[in-house]
């Protein structure tokens, strides 16, 4: 079939697959498409689909932080603040919360609108924070963002007149659509069109939504990466003085990195508010910022495909491997006849209890090991790869030089 062959060759599939990142994207896309169907078929429920949808929030956060940390080289330790701002903007205007506030009126704005409002509000706060602080460099900037990340959840906690404080904001509206299509991939028997569809707590619907959001985000960030602005970010990361001498306004360029990075976080926040139905100040603590940063660094700073893999891997590690470790260890030891290990005895707390206690030690160990074995991340950008090779090479050179000198 010559026609088919020419189409085949026109797609340049062979060359594309050879490009590592494209291959990663391809695999991710295929897995994302079959995931709900496969897991529902295999396990009989939607638990894994809702887990994946939740992991998607983190992927979105990591893709956004990668713009700030990976592209522009600005260390942001308070990224969760923008996530909180996005989540609260949606929660406040899509629940009964404001009825008990000094406004005495509840707003129920549609999710689709608030998705973009959350995005813009977070971006605006990114710019507001960035404006006075981006003149700072490196470590100083990191400290200021750290402070911001501490302040924002505190504000949401203490402005309890508006936000309900520690009581959190609950029963947040779920997104709805005039029509939705359901089928065997979502566990239904037939393909059918549902009218006046409400997402409610349908995990498959949220899953579809987050996958679409991530695809959109990845396309946009990829476009930016290979653009005038993306080059300016990299130039600033490489040498700020030289970048300024080439006519790049370093302050506005860094500000854009901050604002764009924050906007993805705001996006993720609105989605999080809707899918979780509850927004509370303690969901946005420092540990969230750090976890996202770990995802970015571990996945491969500056490389979008790597960052996605990193986010999924860390999410899976934290929420599946480590959290089910005690139970798994218990049943394993029972199965191989070492059941006595599970009984607490004096100082011995029992195997599963021990695993429970050591969870975060294990997490830490895994991170340390990862960074030792693969410092460039799982799928590094080519630049990071080079950089580390370079560092090793210079180190070796110095060692050789010292050897010669002595």
């Amino acid at each position: 079939m010559p026609a088919a062959r020419s189409l085949w060759s026109r797609l340049h599939l062979r060359e594309r697959i050879r490009d590592r990142d494209t291959a990663v994207y391809g695999v991710l896309l295929i897995v994302a498409l079959v995931w709900p169907m496969a897991t529902i078929f295999a396990t009989g429920d939607t638990f894994l689909t809702s887990q994946a949808a939740h992991a998607g929030t983190w992927v979105l956060l990591a893709v956004g932080l990668n713009v700030v940390v990976g592209f522009a080289g600005l260390l942001d330790l308070g990224y969760a603040a923008f996530f909180a701002i996005g989540a609260y903007s949606y929660a406040l205007f899509a629940s009964f919360q404001l009825a008990s506030s000094p406004l005495h009126h509840a707003y129920h704005l549609p999710f689709w609108l608030m998705l973009f409002v959350g995005m813009f509000v977070a971006a605006a706060f990114g710019a507001i924070l960035g404006f006075p602080t981006l003149r700072l460099r490196g470590d100083y900037l990191a400290i200021v963002t750290l402070g911001f990340g501490e302040i924002v959840p505190q504000l949401f906690l203490n402005l309890d007149q508006w936000t309900g404080g520690i009581n959190a904001i609950g029963s947040i509206d779920q997104p709805s659509l005039p029509a939705w299509i359901t089928g065997p991939w979502a566990g239904a028997n037939d393909i059918a069109i549902v009218r006046d569809f409400n997402f409610s707590f349908d995990p498959v619907a949220y899953y579809v939504l987050i996958v679409i959001l991530i695809i959109g985000a990845v396309i946009l960030v990829n476009n930016l990466h290979r653009s005038r602005l993306g080059r300016a970010w990299m130039a600033i990361r490489e040498d700020e003085v030289a970048a300024a001498a080439m006519g790049i306004n370093t302050v506005t360029t860094k500000l854009l990195a901050f604002a764009i990075g924050a906007s993805f976080s705001g996006f993720a926040g609105a989605y999080y508010g809707a899918s979780f139905g509850l927004v509370s100040p303690d969901s946005f603590l420092f540990v969230v910022s750090v976890t996202v940063l770990v995802m970015v660094v571990l996945g491969g700073m500056g490389n979008i495909a790597g960052v996605i893999i990193g986010a999924i891997a860390i999410y899976f590690l934290l929420n599946s491997v480590l959290s089910s470790l005690p139970a798994n260890l218990q049943s394993l030891s029972n199965a191989i006849g070492l059941g006595w290990l599970n009984n607490s005895n004096g100082a011995w707390p029992g195997l599963s209890e021990l695993a429970q206690r050591l969870q975060f030690l294990l997490y830490g160990l895994i991170l340390v090991l990862m960074m030792l074995l693969r410092p460039q991340g799982i799928f590094p950008s080519r630049i990071r790869e080079q950089e580390l090779k370079h560092a090793v090479a210079t180190e070796e050179e110095t060692v050789v030089e010292q050897a010669h000198a002595s």
Partner: protein, 261 residues
């Protein structure tokens, strides 16, 4: 930036430019005029304040006092990126390339200031943006050919041989479409052969209608290509004029060789 009484012939005019770092007077009330289309050289012993003078012109430092007029505008105290936009480009004494970007990307960063793509254009890859990108890539390649390093286009800047890095810096500076090009010791560490090639390149740059203002240590190189020379010592201008005159100046000889008893 106000209009200054324009001398149409001069592209850069410094009036009593002074830069003080605490107690150190790095540039002491230096005045000079550079004419359009000439090669103007700034020489002087180490620590004479040559690079500080460059930095004060390009906005890296704010001068303590004095005035900088470029192309009829007062640019004293302007920011580096504003100065670049107006048409002054520079290279650095200790090469400052974007190490982990390819050579062609380095030059494309130089085009930044003449590009129009806004965030939205890039986000959605609008046709306008795509055409601009294609054009800029072409222009960047053209510049790499101009300085003779096109074969390194897709290498990381840091992987280029030393001499080619200096050329890449010049290409990157030219990409900003400058009217005035400041070269800070462009031949430092060059072999005699490379110096000859550099002189050829400077002449080629002149034919593009760009004025060249260079700092150089190598007297022979300076004498060969520049029409006029200013000699700086301890921040002060001690001599000015055509090369053959400056070479004979007693104070210049003293500055370079020390006072003979």
């Amino acid at each position: 930036m106000s209009e200054a009484p324009a001398d149409r012939d001069s592209i850069l005019e410094l009036t009593e430019l002074t830069k003080r770092f605490g107690g150190l007077l790095a540039v002491d009330s230096v005045s000079l005029q550079i004419k359009r289309g000439e090669v103007f050289a700034l020489i002087g012993p180490n620590g004479a304040g040559k690079t500080t003078l460059f930095n004060s012109v390009t906005g890296m430092f704010r001068p303590t006092s004095g005035r900088v007029v470029f192309d009829g505008r007062v640019i004293t105290g302007s920011k580096p990126h504003e100065v670049a936009r107006l048409g002054i480009a520079r290279t650095f004494q200790n090469i400052r390339l974007f190490d982990f970007m390819t050579a062609v990307d380095n030059v494309k960063v130089g085009r930044h200031v003449r590009m129009k793509a806004k965030v939205w254009d890039s986000l959605f890859k609008l046709p306008r943006e795509r055409h601009e990108e294609e054009r800029v890539t072409e222009e960047a390649m053209e510049l790499l050919r101009f300085v003779g390093i096109a074969r390194f286009a897709n290498h990381y800047a840091r992987n280029l041989p030393y001499g080619q890095q200096r050329r890449l810096e010049i290409a990157r500076a030219l990409a900003t479409e400058p009217k005035l090009l400041l070269l800070d010791e462009p031949a430092a560490g060059f072999t005699p052969q490379e110096k000859v090639e550099l002189m050829e390149l400077v002449r080629k740059i002149l034919t593009r209608g760009i004025t060249v203002f260079l700092i150089e240590h190598d007297m022979k190189l300076v004498m060969g290509i520049s029409e006029r020379i200013v000699v700086l010592d301890h921040g002060e201008k001690i001599a000015e004029g055509p090369p053959e005159e400056v070479r004979k100046d007693r104070r210049v000889i003293e500055a370079y060789l020390g006072k003979s008893a």
